[in-house]
């Protein structure tokens, strides 16, 4: 599904990722853990194609094609979804309108017929029900006045509606209390499927109690320092990241 080879990326001329390699297969869930400033968010932005995140070396293959050739919207059309650490407010735009625009844009890209407002609403309502999200959230402007938990649930709802192949969750646990965390994690788990890969980026291991990964990678100083199973996350919880920060220095 996703193959990252020797990725180097810079922001404003400063190299943040320094030779990162990673492979994720369909059906797998991987976690990337790391200290602050290790390049976790940079990785998610590079994967999503944000302006200003410049790849200086290496390549990213997604479903066998060069991901870096595609614009952010084309990547979304191809099934790359990024759940934002800080979901953005769009004042005056109702969630349903936003979901309709997004779903139809993705459907157009996939060569599928666009859905009318009623059909979109039907899909969206189904998903809110499945995820246990209040329908009240649909009428409100995108993320405006949402609590931290609501914002993250809204990200999961968008993910469910857009049905991506590769879901990247960037610090989805940040700012959530344990109940909210559980709801979001349940939502993500419900979307796990043999034809979908998930990349969970997190600082703390507690999210991984709820979204159990197949593999855990430690990112520090712009590279994967170590990979292992679920046990690695627990080890990190106990010992912290100091070891890796030093090893890379």
């Amino acid at each position: 599904m996703l193959e990252i080879k020797n990725l180097h990326a810079a922001v404003d001329g400063t190299e943040i990722l320094k030779g990162l390699s990673l492979e994720i297969n369909a059906g797998e869930t991987h976690a990337i853990m790391g200290p602050n400033g290790s390049g976790k968010s940079t990785l998610s932005y590079v994967l999503a194609g944000r302006d200003g995140y410049k790849v200086t070396k290496g390549e990213i293959l997604y479903k066998g094609q060069n991901l870096l050739d595609l614009s952010p919207e084309e990547r979304a059309g191809e099934g790359v979804f990024l759940a934002f650490q800080y979901p953005v407010e769009i004042p005056g735009v109702a969630n349903t309108i936003f979901l309709k625009e997004a779903l139809n844009a993705v459907r157009r890209h996939r060569g599928e017929e666009e859905l009318d407002a009623m059909a979109v609403l039907k899909v969206v309502r189904e998903k809110t029900k499945e995820l246990g999200i209040s329908e009240d959230m649909l009428k409100r402007a995108v993320n405006v006045g949402f609590s931290g938990g609501e914002k993250k649930r809204n990200e999961v709802l968008q993910m469910a509606v857009l049905n991506p192949s590769l879901a990247i969750l960037d610090e989805t646990d940040s700012g959530l209390d344990i109940d909210a965390l559980k709801i979001v994690a349940d939502g993500v788990n419900a979307l796990r499927a043999p034809d979908r890969a998930t990349l969970v980026i997190t600082h703390y291991q507690r999210l991984l109690d709820h979204i159990v990964p197949d593999k855990v990678h430690v990112l520090a100083k712009g590279r994967i320092q170590r990979s292992g199973g679920k046990a690695l996350a627990l080890e990190l919880e106990k010992n912290g990241y100091a070891e890796f920060a030093e090893a890379a220095a």
């Binding site: 999503a48 944000r50 302006d51 200003g52 614009s71 952010p72 919207e73 990547r75 979304a76 059309g77 979804f81 990024l82 934002f84 979901p87 953005v88 407010e89 769009i90 004042p91 005056g92 735009v93 309108i97 936003f98 625009e101 997004a102 779903l103 844009a105 993705v106 890209h109 402007a141 968008q158 857009l162």
Partner: protein, 485 residues
């Protein structure tokens, strides 16, 4: 960043084909000789077969116009207008013998309106909106006239109103915007050609939306329409106005006057979607839209509501206003103004509170892109007798890119201790975060900008009648195509 360069290219592409209404109708026309003098005014008046009093009123205005200075307080800058270089009357030849029904109207004209998305014949069959179609200096057709007359509503071209109901015209024409008001309005009083006249009798709720569609077609020709709407006691009407013009290299002048009058308990809702040709990306061509629109709430509990979506014109100079005379009368102004490329807009409103407990509400949304410049200019005046009067103003500006400008100039004059005036203003930019978020969800950059801007304008778009709201939403997107930086 590379995105900026890309955008510059996109802007050019869109400027070339972005304006859908830029075509010219090839039709034989009859024009007055070029230039402006008393003979031209006599020519226009004779063409319209006007009574003597109308001609006299035109000449009086013209003589006064000669003495008036050009307004100089606005922000837009442009070279002095050469009034002698323009035609003041132009009409399709086929309109010389007034067609009595749509079947007699030149098919070429009907085709033009069809191309503009206003199929007159079809609209006559489908119920909903009655249309007065004005082409250069004449009204070519007014639909649903007979049906409206059943309930006593008069909806006809101004020239016909002068003939049919001279008393109403004499009583109200110029009573809200006198010819001495400003230079552009004065010119209109001298040379106005067509426009719509509406009278809603006592207690009648107009059974359908009324609409006028203005089209400038001929070269070097100004359009000077005059609209007068009178809502008698307890009546209601919703009126829509749309406008387009061909793409031409020279500037064309549009100096219209609109007067609204509401008596006791009456309400007029006036909506405009202004999409005159805005000129090209270098500022060549485009309409000078110098318009005076004013409503007088003369009666108690009466209401006038202006809603405008301004996307066209090279220069917009326009301040739809309300004079709130009647006790408890209400004035509203909802505005979206979008400028792109080299467009300049100086627009806003005046709310003049004279009566007790009058209230007004102003919601203005300005969006500037490209190298355009936009000014909100508004006056709220509380007169000494306006006890209990209230005003709320909210003025938001959105900037796209860093080569455009937005200015807010609110004037507040209060001569009444008890009156309440509230003013809120914000200026923001479309953020990179918003665009990236939307693009990550599959929405391309143009559509993302349109979505953010539509959200920004939502409070105002909601005020538009259904028929216009959808069109306006699309227009918002089209006007901003290629503006992302």
């Amino acid at each position: 960043m590379a995105a900026t360069l890309e955008t510059a290219q996109q802007v050019q592409e869109y400027a070339d084909d972005g304006y859908k209404y830029g075509f010219v109708t090839d039709i034989e026309t009859e024009s007055a000789p070029k230039g402006l003098n008393e003979d031209i005014i006599r020519f226009i008046s004779a063409k319209k077969k006007e009574p003597e009093w109308m001609l006299e009123s035109r000449l009086k205005a013209y003589r006064h116009w000669l003495t008036m200075p050009e307004p100089e307080w606005q922000k837009p800058e442009f070279p002095a207008i050469n009034y002698q270089d323009s035609y003041y009357y132009s009409a399709p030849k086929s309109m010389a013998d007034k067609p009595k029904s749509l079947d007699e109207v030149d098919p070429e004209l009907l085709a033009t309106y069809e191309k503009l998305g206003i199929p007159l014949q079809e609209q006559e069959r489908l119920a909903g909106v009655a249309v007065d179609a004005v082409f250069d200096s004449v009204s070519v057709a007014t639909t649903f006239k007979a049906k409206l007359e059943e309930v006593g509503v008069i909806f006809c071209p101004m020239s016909e109103a002068i003939e049919r109901c001279p008393d109403l015209v004499q009583k109200y024409l110029g009573s809200v915007v006198p010819y001495t008001d400003n230079k552009h309005a004065c010119l209109n009083a001298a040379v106005f050609t067509d426009g719509s006249f509406v009278f809603i009798p006592k207690g009648v709720r107009c059974p359908m939306e009324l609409s006028t569609y203005f089209r400038i077609n001929a070269e070097n020709t100004g359009q000077f329409e005059r609209t007068l709407i009178i809502a008698d006691e307890g009546s209601y009407v919703s009126y829509l106005e749309g406008c387009t013009a061909p793409m031409r290299d020279e500037h064309q002048l549009h100096a219209a006057v609109v007067e609204l009058i509401t008596l006791d308990d009456a309400e007029i809702k006036y909506s405009t979607v202004q999409n005159w040709y805005p000129g090209d990306e270098e500022g060549r061509g485009g309409i000078y839209n110098f318009v005076t629109k004013r409503g007088a709430c003369r009666g108690r509990n009466s209401k006038i509501s202006w809603t405008q979506v301004e996307t066209g014109s090279a220069i917009t100079w326009k301040y739809p206003s309300c004079i709130l005379q009647g006790e408890n009368s209400v004035g509203e102004f909802y505005s979206i103004a979008i400028t792109n490329n080299r467009q300049q807009a100086d627009t806003g409103t005046k709310m003049i509170h004279l009566g007790k407990n009058t209230s007004s509400r102003i919601i203005s949304k300005g969006i500037s892109a490209g190298r355009s410049d936009q000014t909100y200019r508004g006056l709220v005046r509380m007169g000494p007798k306006a006890n209990g009067a209230r005003n709320y103003t909210q003025c938001d500006s959105l900037l796209i890119g860093d080569t455009c400008g937005a200015h807010t100039v609110p004037y507040i004059e209060s001569k009444n201790q008890g009156a309440v005036v509230e003013h809120e203003a914000t200026t923001s930019k479309i953020s990179e975060d918003q665009l990236f978020y939307l693009r990550q969800r599959g929405i391309d950059e143009e559509a993302a900008v349109a979505l953010v801007v539509n959200g920004f304008c939502r409070d105002v778009l909601q005020q538009l009648p259904m028929e216009f709201a959808v069109e306006a939403q699309k227009l918002v997107g089209i006007s901003l195509e290629g503006s992302v930086g």
